[in-house]
């Protein structure tokens, strides 16, 4: 069809508008495809590593060594594979290197390079650790005073998210790494090493009665199922979270793009009414014209999606690598793609573009050719009810003109409103996250947890703790009727090391009335102050109903705080028993010490990752700005185009370009401001909701208050964006010719 030429020329002439929509589409598709593909790769690697390398189902730490005949007995009785594994935390410079004995049945190491260590002076380290410490195969490294040769790089399936302690939140490869060594090396360190028993079952469940059987033999210091082990679980959480996030943002952008296409196509049809009428009168069939106008959607849709697919596929590689920095998964597979991703990334946007366009055109094509041939003045001239308001008929001509513009183009105002809202929410999400990281550390680790070290013992202690250390009891508790597990803390109400603050108010004394929950715990349970919860534990059959006395601003972890005597009694411990102490001084690693938590390390790892957070926040802000520039420019451009007869008339009358632009374009400034103001609380609210809905997976809640500086900075950014889009549209305004007004009057 020769009309194709007309389309191509129109596309060229209005390239700004069509490219803008295409770009929005491209952004949506790129984002969706790259994230989805990266996650698919991550998922695939995780699944294969878990399965092929026999990731543990659980592990436990007995207080006494369990001999191998006992393990064998359990294996037969419970149809489970068990294997003892010893490890030793060696100091290497400033960091901790956890050296494991080589296993043969469970948690099999994956060697990405080099060979397994065989003799007493060889070691294979995790590749991230090697990278951070600039270690190569064949290099020597000093470990606890001994020189050892690096023979290879390893991955362990139970250290995918590499954190030193299970309570750690953020993995820091500078501070912690893993390694494997041969039996002979482990023997040298046997006096200082720990032993844990790992277990594997084919169905991934802990066999019924197994824990009781073990408990009959020895005290269990720790029993961790894979599902509760962040080193294993975190990657699953991330995959799940990423999957849901991956769809949301691209969907929003897609919706914006769709709205823009609809806007553009309706505009195009409006402009070409007469043309359509002529063609119909000449004898063109309606479906021929439909096909012609669908051409626009094809061009926009195909260019956006195909380029988006290509860009997305390309971007998925660095994204996968970024994930690889977080999760220690061997590259068992590369560039995995779910064909569905490609199909969805291509089909959905295209179908959406085509069907929306078809719908938009269909309405115009239904009109009789004769009606189309007649000038449209008849319908445009209708006044909307808003215009009849007396308010709009006062003031100078200019004022009335501007108000009319606003009122007549309600759809434009709405689009501008929504566009600004979308960008503001995105921008503030970025700001809040950025700010929250600091606030989270400050509140949780500085204001509330004022200790420097926590020392966990292998067995219950009863003697008076040393001066300067404050005893507490930790234990896992369940909440009746809920799936959630909480970490219970029995604390001295007068402890100097925990100040359970809630908005500056200290809740410690409230413990007499009941329990204090951390913010994530309250969110997971869905309870607030004043409500009752019933606790159970896995040690005995005790049940205890307590009132929630308050929720503290502890943003990390699902904790419940109780007075120590109360908690001990509940767990069946002696009243003066404790399992750990907090203190300010650096503790010695005694024989009965099971684990030492160094608070500074936790904070450091937060700081270490703030770089990554910062860049992702910057990315988000840039994204917000790009999208709003596209949307606002598109809209202002359309407004100029639609009002070109009036603009031309103003010019004929002697107005300067800048005056005209003020007249026509700045009408929308109040709309932009209003939208911004409404978006501020909306952003806080939606992010809060999002955090709450994700808390079960993430285990932390970010404070979501919008502070003054965010609001101010956001305002500046949004207004600058608006100014930029107006500046871009001014060019268009300059192009409006003086004859335009006269030409239009002829028609």
């Amino acid at each position: 069809m020769i009309l194709k030429k007309s389309m191509i020329r129109t596309l060229k002439e209005k390239k700004f508008q069509y490219a803008g929509v295409s770009l929005l589409l491209l952004l949506a598709v790129t984002l969706y495809v790259s994230l989805s593909m990266a996650v698919t790769t991550l998922e695939e690697r995780n699944a294969r590593f878990t399965e092929d390398y026999k990731q543990e189902t659980f592990h436990f730490v007995p207080s006494e060594p369990v001999d191998s005949s006992k393990l064998q007995e359990w294996e037969e009785e419970f149809d489970v594979t068990l294997e003892a594994r010893s490890y030793y935390d060696a100091d290497v410079d400033d960091s901790v290197l956890r050296v494991f004995s080589q296993t043969e049945e469970i948690n099999l190491p994956y060697l990405s390079e080099g060979s397994n260590p065989t003799d007493g002076s060889e070691i294979a380290v995790s590749s991230v650790f090697a990278e951070k410490n600039d270690l190569h195969i064949g290099d020597e490294v000093e470990i606890s005073g001994e020189r050892m040769e690096v023979t290879g790089f390893v991955y362990l399936p139970d250290y995918i998210y590499m954190i030193e302690q299970l309570t750690d939140l953020i993995s820091d490869a500078e501070k912690f790494g893993i390694a494997i060594a041969s039996e002979s090396v482990m023997d040298q360190w046997s006096s200082r090493s720990q032993t844990e028993i790992t277990g594997w079952t084919s169905d991934g469940e802990v066999p019924d009665g197994f824990m009781e059987a073990v408990r009959a033999e020895t005290t269990i210091l720790q029993f961790v199922e894979a599902g509760d082990n962040p080193r294993i679980q975190f990657v699953d959480t991330e995959i799940e979270g990423a999957k849901s996030m991956n769809n949301t943002l691209p969907l929003f952008i897609l919706a914006l793009a769709a709205a823009m296409v609809l806007l553009l196509m309706r505009r195009r049809i409006e402009m070409q009414r007469k043309e359509i009428g002529t063609l119909l009168a000449l004898g063109y069939r309606r479906n021929e014209l439909l096909r012609h106008y669908l051409g626009y959607a094809w061009v926009i849709g195909l260019s956006g999606t195909v380029l988006g697919l290509a860009a997305g596929a390309g971007l998925s590689v660095p994204l996968s690598n970024l994930y690889a920095n977080y999760f220690n998964l061997p590259a068992l597979s590369m560039f995995d793609f779910n064909p569905m991703v490609l199909v969805i990334g291509l089909i959905i946007p295209l179908v959406l573009m085509l069907s929306l366009t078809a719908w938009g055109i269909h309405r115009a094509l239904k009109v009789e050719p004769l009606t189309l041939l007649r000038p449209k003045e008849v319908t445009v001239g209708r006044k909307s009810w808003l215009e009849r308001l007396p308010l709009l008929n006062k003031g100078s001509f200019i004022q009335r003109f501007r108000l009319r513009l606003l009122v007549r183009n309600k759809a434009r105002s709405l689009y501008i409103f929504l566009g600004v809202m979308f960008s503001t929410v995105l921008l503030l999400f970025g700001f809040i996250t950025f700010n929250s990281m600091d606030q989270l550390v400050e509140t949780t680790y500085e204001d509330i947890m004022t200790y420097d070290y926590a020392v966990y013992y292998q067995s219950l202690q009863t003697e008076e703790p040393a001066d300067g250390s404050d005893p507490f009891t930790v234990g896992e508790v369940n909440v009746k009727g809920q799936d959630a597990k909480l970490t219970g803390y029995g604390i001295e109400t007068g402890t100097p090391y925990i100040h359970l603050l809630s908005d500056e108010e200290k809740l410690n004394s409230e413990l007499k009335e009941g329990a204090v929950l951390s913010t994530p715990a309250a969110a997971v349970l869905g309870v607030g102050a004043g409500e009752d919860i019933t606790l159970t534990n896995s040690l005995n059959d005790e049940e205890m109903t307590v009132q929630v006395a308050g929720v503290a601003d502890v943003y990390i972890g699902s904790q419940i705080y109780l007075p120590r005597e109360v908690f001990n009694e509940f767990l069946g411990y002696p009243g003066d028993a404790y399992s750990a102490v907090w203190q300010a001084e650096k503790p010695e690693r005694g024989a009965d010490v099971y684990q030492i938590e160094d608070k500074q390390k936790v904070i450091d790892s937060f700081e270490a990752t703030s770089g990554a957070t910062r860049s992702s926040v910057i990315g988000m802000a840039v994204f917000a700005v790009v999208i709003s520039v596209i949307v606002l420019t598109l809209l202002t451009n359309l407004i100029v185009e639609e009002n070109s007869p009036s603009i031309s008339l103003f010019k004929v009358m002697g107005y300067h370009n800048s005056e005209v632009s003020k007249l026509v374009l700045s009408v929308y400034t109040p709309v932009v401001m209003l939208s911004y103001l409404i978006s501020i609380p909306l952003a806080g609210l939606t992010l809060g909701q999002l955090m709450n809905s994700l808390v079960e997976q993430t285990g932390f809640i970010l404070p979501t208050d919008v502070s003054l500086w965010m609001a101010a900075t956001g305002f500046v950014v949004i207004m600058l964006t608006y100014a930029l889009s107006i500046a871009l549209s001014k060019r268009k305004l300059k192009q409006v010719s003086l004859q335009e007004a006269l030409k239009k009057q002829q028609d």
Binding site: M1, I2, L3, K5, S6, R9, T10, E13, K274, E275, G277, T278, L279, L280, A281, L282, G283, Y284, R285, R286, E368, P369, L370, L373, D747
Partner: protein
């Protein structure tokens, strides 16, 4: 192609107002003739042309073109009827601004199963040397020539012209009339010309006069005046 209309009635309803645009209009247009329809503004000329051309429907009566009635034709059938038989020429030319002269004519050519040759047609309307120009680069007369070429190239049986010279000066207007006469003579096309320019009637085989939706007078010219010689008003 001959056209018969019998007691055609058309009523427009816009809001509270009812307008009888055609009141029992009857006419016979013989094949291969030029017919002008005269009458003051609002007398129903365009409405008559539009119902004959199948871009509007009549309420009562009967229109028969080439022995086939337009009664009860569906939208699709009307489109096919226009596509095959009708060439429209409008007062406002209605060219597609994003297409060149040649491409605009091509728009018409694509509709036909036996189109005239492109070069020939462009030459006939005198636009061959300007075939690469865009409408905005042309004068009104030139644009109307292109519109004629667009209608002509389909090789239609009927050419319907609604005030084709209404926006043109005398010289240019007469040139267009010459062209229409030439088309009629060369291809045997039935040409209906609406005008409120009395003089144009002198060049037609038949003149129809309308007033308030009625056909008040029909007469045949004994001798045809050359378009060059018509009285321009």
């Amino acid at each position: 192609m001959a056209i018969f209309a019998e007691k055609v009635t058309k009523t427009y309803q816009s809001g509270e107002v009812t307008v009888k645009a055609l009141r029992e209009a009857s006419l016979t247009v013989p094949d291969k003739k030029i017919v002008t329809i005269l009458g003051p503004s609002g007398s129903g000329k365009s409405t008559l042309l539009n119902v004959i051309g199948g871009i509007d429907r009549y309420d009562e009566g009967q229109i028969v073109v080439d022995g086939r009635t337009l009664d009860g034709l569906k939208d699709k059938q009307l489109t096919e009827y226009r596509r095959k038989n009708i060439g429209f020429i409008f007062q406002q030319y209605n060219l597609i601004p994003t297409l060149t002269v040649e491409e605009n004519v091509e728009v018409g050519r694509e509709l036909s199963s036996n189109p005239l040759p492109m070069e020939d047609t462009l030459k006939k309307v005198g636009m061959l040397d300007k075939k690469a120009k865009f409408p905005f680069q042309l004068s009104g007369g030139e644009q109307q020539r292109v519109a004629i070429a667009r209608a002509l190239i389909k090789n239609p049986n009927i050419l319907l012209c609604d005030e084709p010279t209404g926006a043109l000066d005398e010289d240019t207007g007469k040139n267009i009339l010459k062209l229409l006469k030439y088309v009629n003579e060369t291809y045997g096309t039935t040409v209906l010309i609406i005008t409120h320019n009395q003089g144009i009637g002198e060049m037609a085989h038949q003149v129809i006069r309308m007033s308030s939706g009625e056909i008040v007078e029909t007469f045949e010219n004994e001798t045809l005046v050359d378009p060059e010689q018509v009285t321009w008003s």
